[in-house]
């Protein structure tokens, strides 16, 4: 049996279901991200696990125990908040010792544990400071330390890096993942940032409209999106819309001057409006002089802008149907703005879904 179970969990606010019949099983040792746009209900779900919200229906089980009726302080969980929420009237040391004092540990044990957390989070020398005397990154480390120091059954993280700048964020991503692996306790990490989710998680649950759209390994979520929403939300993709036509074991989409072919998908009927997604990095380029622009999965285009991203470059292409983005490593041949190119991709890199009603 999984370590953490959400069993038909729903939360209703007024007439809105913020969380809608969520079932999840999370193993010990697992790093799970709840990834979704703001307002998707991911934070509410986290607060239900913490006990800060009561689910309208359903049960929460942690380590085999039904904790649905337990208040937060009896659940043995810990949380890292987006706003840090360090106790402003307490020093760093006192903030870190707080969960341990609540556990009524002996003083020597408290000192040893705080010492341990101060060590692993590089907080030495800051113990006597107050939170408002710390930088954002330091506050974040203290918040993380306060979450880890009590060795909770599960650590819940609510967009903990959202208030940090990009560089610090990437540093902390590595650090958070490292501590999770070292401690071997499950982390449940809420974020709207796909890069954070992809960089740290074992599995990602994509949350949308209070429901789990898909809960799978991060590679599955990225490489094999289960729904159009995931294809659009995770990674950067180009979208083509057209009408489906099946022929044998291939299905093609025609429209807007491009023909896309890929292996058939179950559940897509002939003549249906479909959307095809091709990730930016799957779009390859060759000079127009190399020819072959008329075939399936190719289109003729002009380079409009080249955006340098350091290790790779993004080519914004204009074609008869609109714009297309191809990102490719800098090591590959470069094209200049204005160059005529042929963009092409493998049939296997096409994700095909019926056009969702809300984006028609």
């Amino acid at each position: 049996m999984a370590y953490i179970h959400l069993d038909g969990v729903s939360k209703q606010y007024g007439s809105v279901w913020a969380v809608d019949r969520v079932n999840m099983a999370i193993e010990k040792h697992e790093f799970v991200s709840l990834l979704g746009p703001s307002g998707s209900g991911k934070t509410t779900l986290l607060r239900i696990i913490a006990g800060l919200e009561r689910p309208t229906t359903g049960r929460v089980l942690i380590d085999g125990e039904d904790v649905t009726e337990l208040p937060p302080h009896k659940r043995g969980v810990a949380m890292v908040f987006q706003e840090f929420l360090l106790f402003p009237h307490r020093t760093v040391y006192e903030n870190l010792a707080f969960p341990l004092r609540m556990l009524k540990l002996p003083k020597s044990e408290i000192e040893a544990r705080v010492e341990w957390v101060v060590g692993i989070l590089a907080l030495r020398g800051l113990e006597k400071r107050y939170p408002n005397q710390l930088s954002g990154g330091q506050q974040q480390r203290v918040a993380l330390g306060r979450g880890l120091v009590g060795r909770p059954k599960v650590l819940l993280l609510d967009e903990p890096l959202a208030n940090l700048d990009r560089e610090l964020r990437q540093e902390m991503e590595v650090e958070i993942r490292k501590h999770q692996t070292d401690l071997g306790i499950p982390f449940i990490y809420v974020t709207h940032n796909q890069e954070e989710a992809l960089s740290m998680s074992d599995r990602i649950a994509v949350v949308r409209g209070g429901r789990i759209e898909d809960f799978a390994s991060r590679t599955d979520i990225y490489d094999r999106p289960k729904t159009a929403f995931i294809a659009q939300f995770v990674g950067r993709s180009n979208r083509f819309i057209g009408t489906a036509a099946t022929a044998g074991d291939t299905i093609s989409l025609s429209g807007e001057g491009v023909r896309i072919e890929t292996a058939t998908r179950p559940g897509i009927a002939d003549g249906e409006r479909v959307a095809a997604y091709v990730k930016n990095e799957k779009v390859r380029l060759r000079p127009a002089s190399a020819g072959g622009a008329g075939a399936a999965n190719t289109l003729a285009a002009t380079v409009r802008y080249v955006i340098l991203r350091g290790a790779y470059a993004e080519y914004v292409l204009g074609w008869s149907g609109g714009e297309l983005v191809a990102s490719r490593p800098r090591s590959e041949a470069e094209f200049t703005e204005g160059a005529e190119v042929v963009a092409f991709w493998d049939a296997a890199d096409v994700d095909l879904f019926p056009v969702p009603e809300d984006s028609r």
Binding site: L52, P72, F87, P88, H89, F98, M102, N163
Partner: protein, 275 residues
């Protein structure tokens, strides 16, 4: 080198000086008079403690002081505690109806104190079985002080981030523990401020206390009663003592604010920007 003051600035300074004189000259005058032998016109004062001694040897005023202190302390404690709870309720649990509840909590501010005194006397007597006595007077003053306390506490709690309570609970603190370990240490300046202000209000109150106490003297009612026999020098001394108490309390608040003790209250603007 001559210091030149521009006319505009001079006019401003003069206005400020006049305003302070207007506010404080009567108080200073009474203060001088109560320590002077020539108390009717103490300029220049001939220092003496006679009047003070007369005040303190008068048992009426001693009883009155005791009663005023009791009313002040208990009315302040009660109204601060109730207003604190009411504010927490308003901010955490009232939801969209909060403005309505707030308006009802504050309405007693606009009731004339005399009316409050009379209606409290009648109500407390009829329904609570409380004759006009100290308990009854404390309750009636609490009604009046509650609204002020609520406003003072609300300004402090408005800046309090209730998610700190969430954090405390997640890290294992029971609701009571959360209150004493996190909430109270961060909001006590507001509570203390409310306590001091309501204490002064109840301590100085004439109308409400008078109706509920009748012959039992408080400092204001004793002073008022003494008027019938002309303005005696003891009244100067009394006024000075009362003013001293008030100023000491205000000084306490001021020092607390200046020394930064009070800034221990949660000030979100000093935290990292939280969205």
């Amino acid at each position: 080198m001559r210091i030149k003051i521009k006319p505009g600035k001079f006019a401003l300074l003069a206005t400020v000086a006049l305003s302070y004189l207007f506010l404080y000259l009567p108080v200073v005058h009474i203060g001088l008079a109560s320590f002077a032998r020539n108390s009717n016109f103490p300029y220049p004062p001939k220092w003496s403690l006679d009047i003070m001694a007369r005040l303190f040897s008068n048992s009426l005023y001693q009883t009155a002081l005791g009663n005023s202190l009791i009313i002040g302390i208990f009315a302040a404690l009660l109204s601060t505690a109730l207003a604190g709870l009411a504010t927490i309720g308003l901010m955490r649990h009232a939801g969209r109806r909060a403005p309505l509840y707030l308006a009802l909590f504050i309405a007693p501010l606009f009731v004339a104190e005399v009316l409050l005194g009379i209606s409290s006397l009648i109500f407390n007597g009829l329904f609570l079985g409380l004759q006009g006595n100290m308990v009854s007077a404390i309750l009636a003053n609490t009604v009046h002080c509650f609204s002020y306390a609520l406003l003072i506490i609300a300004t402090q709690l408005y800046r309090y981030d209730w998610r700190l309570d969430d954090a405390a609970m997640v890290f294992g603190a029971s609701p009571a523990r959360t209150f004493f370990e996190v909430t109270l240490p961060l909001i006590w300046p507001g509570l203390l401020g409310a306590f001091i202000v309501t204490f002064i209000m109840a301590f100085n109150n004439l109308e409400i206390s008078f109706y509920l106490l009748g012959a039992t003297p408080t400092l204001p009612s004793a002073a008022w009663g003494a008027l019938r026999y002309g303005v005696k020098p003891e009244l100067y001394a009394l006024a000075t003592c009362v003013n001293l108490i008030v100023f000491v309390l205000l000084a306490v608040m001021f020092v607390l604010m200046r020394t930064g003790l009070v800034t221990f209250g949660h000030r979100p603007e000093r935290e990292r920007s939280a969205v």
